[in-house]
């Protein structure tokens, strides 16, 4: 209970603190009657990827941000590596420009000598974006956590768990005893434990870090980015296909009990099934986490939509409520992804149907 309150307070101060400063510009401009506050633009900017990590906007409209490295590849010029500060405020650098409007908004495009966008010649963007940096920080935190955990196991040997072990071991045992063993069985589960544990903790750490809105290593919408969930789902897909045994492939290409004339229909259906399972994994994680972020941000936006400080307590109350719910969702989505991965792998490795 106490920790939840602490987490609640944490969210309270961070959300109220950051949002007020982040909205400083918009609110001021609105008072002058220049710009009308656009909630959907604001929310999408916050959950989308970007080449800089925006921290806050000063009263004078100057934004404080971490400029992330931009890595671009173009056939004629090869690889270009520079800070995204070079592209801030619509500047053109080395023939590149960060598009601020239109269909390519937020993307880096090539510009020709006249300053027009060269749509034929888009560079391959391999930048370390906000999402990548968030993911990298989560991976580093995860590595520090679990390597020190492994070290402490070396120290304590087989005696009872101590310190960090007593917190993380139940989660590891939960993955083993409630996800891996029930689905994969006692004989096969060990082979897949490293993947299941990695996926579980990778998703969990990223979910939790995404919930903390501030400061920079936190607050990136990593597991709510479709590319990340695509990669994770791809891993499950590849593991499933490569561990598929004879009965799994027979089930796809010669489903037992199906008459031969039906096979031309069944085989495409089964092949679609192969892909739809990881596709569902990808969409589920992406949609759940993104939706959580959108709800929290929308509730904050209410204050600015109604332009009334009186609404703030209500809004903050609901945000705290939502954050508690999101805390649950963070664990739940990590659990569901791992559980379904184990289930899909088990369908491929089970002996007979």
């Amino acid at each position: 209970m106490k920790t939840r309150f602490i987490i609640g307070y944490f969210f309270f101060f961070l959300l109220t603190g950051t949002t007020v400063s982040a909205f400083g510009k918009e609110v001021e401009e609105k008072a002058e009657g220049k710009v009308k506050f656009n909630a959907s633009t604001y929310i999408l900017e916050h959950i989308a990827d970007s080449h800089e990590w925006h921290i806050f906007t000063k009263k004078n409209g100057e934004s404080v941000a971490i400029y992330l490295p931009v890595i671009l590849f173009r056939k004629e010029t090869g690889i270009d590596l520079f800070s995204s500060k070079q592209l801030s405020h619509g500047k053109i650098f080395k023939g590149y420009k960060l598009e601020e409007e239109g269909e390519l908004k937020g993307k880096i495009v090539s510009v020709n000598a006249e300053g027009a966008v060269d749509e034929e010649n888009l560079p391959l963007d391999l930048s370390m974006t906000k999402t990548v940096m968030g993911m990298l920080s989560a991976a580093i935190i995860g590595l520090l956590l679990f390597l020190s955990l492994a070290r402490s196991y070396k120290k304590t040997g087989i005696s009872h768990p101590k310190g960090i072990q007593s917190f993380l071991e139940p989660i590891i045992l939960f993955v083993r005893d409630d996800i891996a063993i029930p689905n994969l069985g006692h004989h096969k589960y060990e082979k897949y434990m490293p993947y299941l544990l990695t996926a579980f903790f990778f998703i969990l750490i990223n979910n939790l870090m995404g919930l903390i809105p501030f400061p920079p290593p936190f607050g990136a919408n990593v597991t709510g980015n479709i590319a990340i969930t695509f990669t994770l789902a791809c891993c499950t897909f590849l593991i499933t296909q490569f561990s598929g045994n004879k009965s799994y492939w027979r089930h796809i290409f010669a489903t037992p009990g199906v008459p031969i004339w039906l096979l031309p229909v069944m085989i495409p259906v089964e092949i679609i099934g192969m892909f739809s399972k990881p596709f569902a994994l990808m969409i589920r994680l992406f949609a759940n986490i993104t939706a959580g972020h959108i709800i929290v941000l929308s509730l904050i936006c209410l204050i600015f939509i109604f332009d009334s400080l009186a609404l703030a307590p209500v809004s903050v109350f609901f945000v705290i409520f939502m954050d508690c719910l999101e805390l649950l969702v963070a664990f739940l989505q990590a659990y569901i992804f791992t559980l379904l991965s184990a289930l899909f792998i088990s369908l491929a490795v089970q002996e007979h149907h």
């Binding site: 963007d125 930048s127 990548v132 991976a139 590595l143 087989i158 990695t198 695509f230 994770l232």
Partner: protein, 171 residues
């Protein structure tokens, strides 16, 4: 529609590459340096706990068996003791009764012997007494005779008297 047209739902190639790289490295490093040692340690502990529980159960079973064995032995010993005691009691009773029989026989025999001895002694004594009485009588008689014979008439009278008294049929 905003979401569909937005870059949100189209995976960016750069992010894909980085996520594959970071996740792959994260997986490889953790598998080699974290999951394997952790899972092995947990497994070793589980096995040790299982082993200790099993051996504890076995020990308890053995103890129970020993206890029941002990009880059986104790019971047997008690029964044996009872048997020995009973036998001893029987032997004692028999001995006592035998001894009693012998003793009473002996006593009877002794009494009989004593009685016989007494009888023979009595007879001996009687015959002695008789002899003595006879001797005394003769002495007295001789003395009296001596006196009486001094008076002639008297002697004959006396002899007669004596003779009258003596019953020759008596032994």
């Amino acid at each position: 529609m905003i979401l569909l047209s937005n870059s949100l739902t189209t995976p960016a190639i750069g992010t894909l590459v980085w996520s594959a790289l970071i996740f792959g490295l994260f997986f490889l490093i953790l598998t080699k340096f974290a999951w394997k040692p952790i899972l092995n340690a947990v497994k070793a502990r589980d096995e040790m706990i299982k082993g200790s529980l099993e051996s504890a159960a076995k020990a308890r079973e053995e103890m129970l068996k020993l206890q029941s064995d002990n009880e059986a032995i104790l019971k047997k010993a008690r029964e044996e003791r009872e048997g020995i005691l009973k036998e001893a009691r029987d032997v004692r009773d028999k001995l006592i009764s035998e001894a009693k029989g012998k003793a009473s026989e002996e006593a009877d025999r002794l009494v009989e012997k004593a009685r016989a001895g007494i009888e023979s002694e009595k007879r001996k004594a009687l015959s002695e007494i008789r002899e003595q009485v006879a001797t005394l009588s003769i002495e007295i008689a001789s003395k009296l005779l001596g006196e009486k014979l001094k008076q002639t008439g008297e002697q004959e009278k006396l002899i007669d008297n004596y003779l009258k008294d003596i019953d020759f049929n008596k032994n």
